[in-house]
């Protein structure tokens, strides 16, 4: 059963309690930056009085997990996308690839890690809710099963059509995410990119990666074929030359 978080931007009051709870959970210092960074795995960003809390979207088909060469990212069966720093080699392709720009890096450390929200995986496994959800006094974050959260979001839109922009962000974006957003306006006006495809981004690399085994087989066969033909051609030419020589010699001898 997959869990997720529904974030209702119309309810957020900008108290930053989620940021504090998150910092506590990770043992991070509390900052006033209100920006995702290696010490902030959730951040409430102020868009002219509209508070948008950001955190890892926990994609259904995570781009980071597809991009990582060593499989340091993993989509768990409970929903969270988790990261294993002991596998990581620090290529930062996950940061480059993530359509939501979530993974951050410890640039100043000699043994740096990628940092991001893990939806408090350990707490979920123990049957608790994530720290930020627990801390929210305005119920702007709801934790639950993804299917039920979608139903809840639809209910809210239907009951208050004048409050909500009728779109559940995360339902389809980048192939669907476990973190869902409701707002009074399109999320593109609140710092999210407008040109996000509705398919998992890994689809674009899969199309070419799936051609590799075939290429190795046919390419290898073709190269060996060309080699065999050119080699054979050389041999034949050499034989023909020899034959010619022999014929000419024969002629000479006959002429004598």
């Amino acid at each position: 059963m997959k869990y997720g978080i529904l974030i209702d931007i119309t309810r957020c009051i900008g108290c930053y309690a989620c940021e504090e709870a998150c910092a506590q959970r990770w043992g991070n210092p509390i900052t006033e930056a209100h920006k995702l960074s290696s010490i902030q795995n959730t951040a409430v960003i102020d868009y002219n009085g509209v508070y948008v809390s950001r955190l890892c979207m926990h994609c259904e088909k995570p781009t980071c997990a597809s991009a990582c060469p060593v499989g340091a990212f993993q989509k768990t069966s409970l929903g969270p996308v988790i990261y294993d720093p002991s596998k990581c080699l620090g290529c930062r392709y996950c940061m480059q690839a993530c359509p939501f720009d979530i993974p951050k890096y410890q640039w100043d450390k000699l043994n740096p890690k990628v940092t991001k929200c893990d939806m408090c995986y350990e707490r979920i496994k123990a049957g608790n809710v994530p720290a930020c959800v627990e801390a929210c006094p305005a119920e702007a974050r709801t934790f639950g099963k993804r299917d039920e959260l979608i139903e809840e979001a639809k209910r809210r839109i239907n009951e208050n059509p004048e409050t909500y922009y009728p779109h559940i962000f995360g339902l389809k974006e980048a192939g669907g995410t476990s973190v869902l957003y409701l707002a009074d306006r399109p999320m593109q006006k609140l710092g999210f990119k407008a040109n996000l495809p509705e398919v998992p981004l890994s689809l674009f690399t899969e199309q070419i990666m799936s051609k590799i085994p075939g290429y190795i087989f046919w390419g290898g066969t073709l190269l060996f074929g060309i080699w065999w033909i050119t080699k054979r051609r050389d041999e034949v030419q050499r034989l023909q030359r020899k034959l010619k020589e022999m014929e000419e010699n024969n002629k000479k001898e006959n002429g004598k």
Binding site: S66, A67, G71, L110, I216, G220, L223
Partner: protein
């Protein structure tokens, strides 16, 4: 005993300055971390080291597989004389790419992880494996010269019997990862500036690598002819220039196809940073080399050929930097420009490449004996340019 004091010429003093700055930056990198020596950030995680050292480094080493394929697969024996230096250039190129990666990776001691931790879905995983395997192939392809030097006959025989499978593996691996460096960017359609995003990226990367491989071989031959006072095998190099020209022509067709398919006219005909960078890359890196290299008079002149191929190489470098840096500036708004320590590490890698090539070329028989070459050429009716003339042209 006489002690020789080496002459400190211009280039060698440049070399030692770069080495000194490079060592300083290296110490800083491994004691203070990436943040202290680079302008990389959460917004801009890949910079000059990926854009130049890795993307360009791998591409510029493409001469190895192009020439090896010509000699062994297509049986074009005439290229045999430049094969050793092409293989050496490629091998050193890949070694330097791996060294540069040790700088760029956050946890360089985990660089071997892809060997046991697999994610076959990842383009980066494929690149890692191909680079590892191809560097091994290049080492084996180059090993006969070491065996020859130390007169080890048995391993020489073993390698010789493996030549064709090695070359085939090398060509397959090269094709795969040259193109995969382009595939890396397929996953960011929403981030890359439209001028450079295309589902053809892997093919464009492969074609430009095929074009730039012979160009690098030409430049390397020209420079080593000056350094080692050898003659230039101009008849071979001018034939190689056709390979570059044809690869660039196919590239041009694909690129025009992209411009039409993705309807890029509004992007390339506006006056902004990206459009200007695109036109410099396109005009000087693709169209100009095609015009120059299609001209048989330029192809058969040493200097003309050198300059034309140098333009090809510079255009190639600009293309890789455009894809990896310029194309991401608009999305990230990071205004990335490399820190001076990033630049010195990159120069350090280039300088190391030159020094290693020079050292190995001096001590191993990578250039065929010149006398026989000259005789062969004379019998074939080719003009042989003496080294004195090369220098006459310089002054």
């Amino acid at each position: 005993m006489k002690i020789k004091i080496p002459k400190l010429t211009f280039w060698s003093s440049v070399f030692w300055i770069i080495v000194a700055l490079g060592i300083y930056s290296t110490i800083l990198r491994f004691t203070k971390g990436l943040g202290a020596v680079t302008n990389l950030s959460d917004e801009f995680p890949w910079g000059l080291w990926i854009g130049f050292d890795v993307l360009c480094g791998v591409g510029l080493a493409a001469g190895g597989f192009v020439i090896a394929a010509a000699v062994y697969i297509f049986n074009l024996e005439e290229y045999k004389s430049i094969l050793p230096s092409a293989i050496l250039t490629a091998f050193l190129g890949y070694l330097l790419v791996i060294i540069a990666l040790l700088f760029d990776l956050g946890k360089p001691w985990n660089i071997w992880h892809p060997i046991i931790m697999w994610n076959p879905e990842s383009v980066m995983f494929e690149v890692a494996w191909c680079v590892m395997l191809y560097t091994t192939v290049l080492a084996l392809e180059f090993s006969p010269f070491i065996f020859q030097k130390f007169k080890l006959e048995k391993p020489q025989k073993i390698i010789k019997s493996l030549t064709i499978p090695l070359v085939v593996a090398g060509v397959i691996l090269s094709t795969l990862h040259q193109s995969s460096l382009g595939s890396l960017y397929l996953i960011v359609p929403e981030k890359l500036y439209p001028i450079w995003y295309s589902s053809n990226l892997p093919y464009l990367f492969f074609l430009s690598a095929v074009a730039v491989g012979p160009a690098m071989v030409t430049i390397e031959s020209y420079l080593s002819s000056r350094a080692f006072k050898r003659e230039i095998e101009i008849h071979i190099l001018s034939k190689l220039a056709k390979v570059t020209a044809v690869a660039l022509m196919v590239y041009l067709v694909l690129k025009i196809q992209d411009i039409i398919k993705y309807n890029l006219f509004s992007y390339i005909f506006t006056l902004n940073y990206e459009a200007i960078m695109f036109w410099i890359e396109f005009a000087f890196g693709v169209i100009l080399p095609i015009i120059l290299l299609a001209n048989s008079r330029i192809r058969s002149s040493k200097k003309g050929l050198f300059i034309a191929q140098l333009i090809t190489v510079l255009g190639f470098i600009l293309n890789r930097l455009n894809v990896s840096i310029t194309a991401l500036e608009n999305y990230t708004q990071a205004n990335y420009f490399p820190k001076w320590t990033e630049i010195t590490v990159t120069l350090f890698m280039v300088a190391l490449g030159f020094a290693l090539f020079r050292f190995i070329a001096k001590h191993l028989p990578i250039f065929p004996p010149e006398v026989s070459e000259k005789r062969k050429l004379l019998t074939e009716g080719f003009e042989v340019i003496s080294i004195k003339e090369v220098f006459k042209e310089q002054t």
